[in-house]
């Protein structure tokens, strides 16, 4: 189902790549791909997109279609040996010394790290729903389309994810307050 505000699907791979690179990168990272493996995961995602773009019929939104590919790539490529061992440092990883992304403050960066740690505590099903709805700001029907689940299932996973994360965060904050009180 194409959503009313979706633009018609671009037929050109370069355009699809340009429009969705950031989304693919963010999603792979939020689904738990470690930094050293992100390049591979995103490349693999777009290799599949390139191969299958001709089969895309526009019955879903392009974004949710691509997410479906990302989640499969992430799962297929997540055996511990491949993702957890850092590869030897090589040209691509070490040849780009200049960072020009958003200039996050230390507080923002810490928030990013904390959120990543929290996401690691969710199982894959809850994690992907939380990522899509609360981080990517998709609607629940869009998220359901992206992961191929029915609406009730997605609502249930979202509720469970939010509850689990809120509980973990509350515990962490309580522990931090305790530490501050004891050290102060």
């Amino acid at each position: 189902m194409r959503l009313p505000n979706d633009p018609p699907p671009p037929a050109d791979f370069g355009e699809v790549y340009r429009m969705h690179f950031d989304f693919a990168w963010r999603s792979a990272r939020r689904l738990g791909v470690p930094d050293h493996a992100l390049d591979d995961a995103v490349q693999e995602t777009f290799m599949v997109v390139h191969r299958k773009l001709g089969e895309f019929e526009g019955r879903s939104s392009l974004k949710t279609w691509i997410f479906g590919i990302i989640r499969r790539v992430v799962r297929d490529h997540r055996p511990p040996a491949r993702w957890q061992l850092a590869p030897p440092a090589m040209l691509d990883q070490i040849a780009e010394p200049v960072e020009d992304g958003p200039l996050h403050s230390a507080a923002n960066a810490e928030a990013g790290r904390r959120l990543a740690r929290l996401l690691d505590k969710l199982d894959d099903h809850k994690r992907e729903v939380f990522v899509l709805v609360d981080l990517e700001e998709m609607t629940v029907p869009e998220a359901a389309e992206a992961i191929g689940a029915n609406l009730n299932t997605v609502y249930a996973r979202l509720r469970a994810a939010r509850r689990a994360l809120a509980e973990v965060l509350a515990r962490e904050r309580a522990r931090e307050r305790n530490l501050e009180r004891c050290s102060g």
């Binding site: 050109d12 791979f13 370069g14 355009e15 790549y17 340009r18 690179f21 950031d22 990168w25 963010r26 990272r29 939020r30 992100l38 390049d39 995103v42 490349q43 777009f46 290799m47 390139h50 590869p87 030897p88 440092a89 090589m90 040209l91 691509d92 070490i94 040849a95 780009e96 010394p97 200049v98 960072e99 020009d100 992304g101 958003p102 996050h104 507080a107 923002n108 960066a109 928030a111 990013g112 790290r113 904390r114 959120l115 990543a116 929290l118 609360d134 981080l135 609502y155 979202l158 509720r159 939010r162 509850r163 994360l165 809120a166 965060l169 509350a170 904050r173």
Partner: protein, 224 residues
């Protein structure tokens, strides 16, 4: 429906943007993808680049050096960054890759990758000042193949490729990259003493290089 807990909402808001890629990520992945897909697929997207972006990226390429390239990329407007990256990919590697593959096109069913031996019959070394963008493309291509060989677990082949780079481009613009890959290949082959000697020479010459940290952490780094 359970809403988002206020603390969690605040954390999500504060973390917004932290997972976004930076231009260097886009450029790196785009280059690698362009090599895997061939010139056609990504080149089309480059047509959306502004003339300024294309000129900047191409000029940066001609100047060479990853820091220069990336700095130039950082100077592009945000909308032009990816387009710039695509131009960069086309300029840096895709053309050279395709040309190389067609020159070495094997008979069907035979090993597709050109060998270092085949390549060693290639042109003699060029002086640094006689090379333009095409020379740099060849440098990039050689080192990319060396890197790929490392990824695929063939450090001996990687070593042959960086040695070829050294023969053809002794004063090449990507000398640092070459030596970094060479040290890692030597480590992978267990030639620790040689790796350490070359790494020490590198660190004396370029102590603040972006590769220094990696080399210090490799088998060629200082003894602990």
């Amino acid at each position: 429906m359970l809403g988002l807990d206020p603390d969690l909402r605040q954390l999500v808001d504060e973390a917004r943007g932290c997972d976004d890629p930076v231009a260097a990520d886009r450029a790196r992945v785009t280059r690698a993808l362009a090599v895997r897909l061939g010139a056609g697929a990504l080149a089309a997207a480059a047509t959306t680049a502004t003339t300024a972006a294309a000129t900047t990226a191409t000029t940066a390429t001609a100047l060479g050096g990853s820091a220069v390239r990336t700095t130039a990329m950082a100077g592009l407007g945000s909308g032009a960054k990816l387009a710039g990256a695509l131009v960069l990919a086309g300029t840096l590697g895709v053309g050279a890759s395709v040309a190389t593959r067609s020159r070495h096109a094997p008979a069907p069913g035979r090993e597709a990758r050109p060998t270092a031996v085949t390549r060693s019959a290639a042109p003699a070394p060029l002086p640094a000042n006689a090379r333009g963008a095409s020379g740099l493309e060849e440098e990039v291509q050689l080192l990319r193949e060396a890197q790929q060989a490392m990824r695929e677990g063939h450090p001996d082949r990687a070593l042959a490729l960086v040695d070829e780079h050294a023969r053809r481009f002794p004063e090449g613009l990507l000398r640092q990259e070459r030596i970094a890959v060479r040290v890692l290949a030597l480590c992978a082959l267990g030639r620790t003493g040689q790796a350490r000697r070359e790494s020490e020479g590198f660190l004396r010459q370029w102590p603040a290089s972006p590769f220094s940290t990696q080399l210090r952490a490799s088998c060629g780094g200082p003894r602990r």
